[in-house]
Amino acid sequence: MTFRMPNGAKLADKPTRRDFFKSGAAFATMTLAPGVTLMAFGGSAASAVVDAGKRWGLLIDTSKCADDCDACVTACKTENGWEGNGDAERDVQWIRKVTLRNKATGHESSMPVMCQHCESPPCVDVCPTGASFKRDDGIVLVDKHICIGCRYCMMACPFKARSFVHEPVNNQKPHAPRGQGTVEGCTLCVHRVDAGGIPACVESCSATGNGAMLFGDLLDPTSEIAQRLAEFPSVALRPDLDLNPGVRYAEI
């Protein structure tokens, strides 16, 4: 289809140059009928950063997590541009500090809780639009372009890891878009991970000297996190649900 402008200038027929050659991935395209084009990703494993052979995860050693420290929460706020509004009913919380108390012994342990990046995430099961999804490398995200803000995922999540944005937002970080009417949660700092980095919370935890958080590939037997998990006992939160979270806790 060709559009002609009133002054006779001719418009380009299709998005060609940038879309197909400069965006970094190869595509298979096929014109099925005029105006209907089938496009498929493929043949560009080198350029796709998401690797199905990896599974990103965290190991949190609660014995090293100080009760009064919330460096991870602060770092997450700074990195992703969110802040609590002080209203517990509507507060945004990508990550929060939780204190667990053993009723029998009185032993208390403090730990950060965020999206547990489950292998079989209930939030993905219930999402009516497919906005809640798991990347091939195990990171669970919300595609806010198709999120309708129904909040089923928030109800389904046993960890209360997601929050709903109730109010208009400005001044977002370019890597962490967030807006009114959508659900959001920990992204495992996916923008940093894609660039070969580690999440902001883990980085800040090391910076405090506590070193309670460890990030890495659970499927790589040579990674520090996999070795630590193999060597020492650790638990998943709510193991009864059999969700196999990517975030595991030691010394609870």
Partner: protein, 159 residues
């Protein structure tokens, strides 16, 4: 009939760029800085949304981030500044995107979630626009004088 109308509306939108504001017809498109797009302005006017939409899925699902088209990059050149030299957000009707979108009455959802100014700019709170911004024009209930006048009028009116 509807198709014809849509087509006419589209033509009107597309022709907007061709007509200068001096004609009194078409939007007044803010001047950009930097190098012009190699594709040409006509191409950008017709396809900018497709380019962004395509790349957003690459980033979201495949983690490909150094894409060639990104919304954040748009504002490196397409930033409108107010009298004080401060970049204006999309709440301001002088914003680059709004020049055409307001004219064509096409709602743009991007900025519900994305920032509408360059990365290094500290955008003001959106709450300021809830009552005063052009996006949320009210009949004046936020102005005490207007409100009082309205209330006194209502109270004195016979039922």
């Amino acid at each position: 009939m509807i198709l014809t109308r849509i087509f006419l509306a589209l033509c009107l939108f597309l022709s907007a760029g061709a007509l200068s504001a001096a004609d009194g017809v078409g939007p007044d498109i803010p001047q950009a800085t930097g190098e012009p797009h190699p594709e040409g302005n006509d191409y950008m006017r017709r396809w900018h949304m497709e380019m962004l939409k395509h790349d957003r899925d690459l980033t979201m699902y495949l983690g490909i981030r150094p894409t060639d088209t990104s919304l954040a990059e748009c504002f490196e050149c397409h930033t409108v500044r107010d009298e004080a030299g401060t970049p204006v957000t999309v709440e301001d009707e002088r914003h680059f995107c709004r020049a055409c979108h307001d004219y064509a009455a096409v709602k743009v959802d991007c900025f519900d979630c994305h920032r509408s100014t360059p990365v290094d700019f500290d955008e003001p709170s959106p709450h300021a626009f809830l009552t005063r911004g052009p996006r949320f024009r009210s009949w004046g209930a936020d102005d005490p004088e207007v409100l009082l006048a309205y209330l006194s009028q209502v109270m004195t009116e016979p039922n």
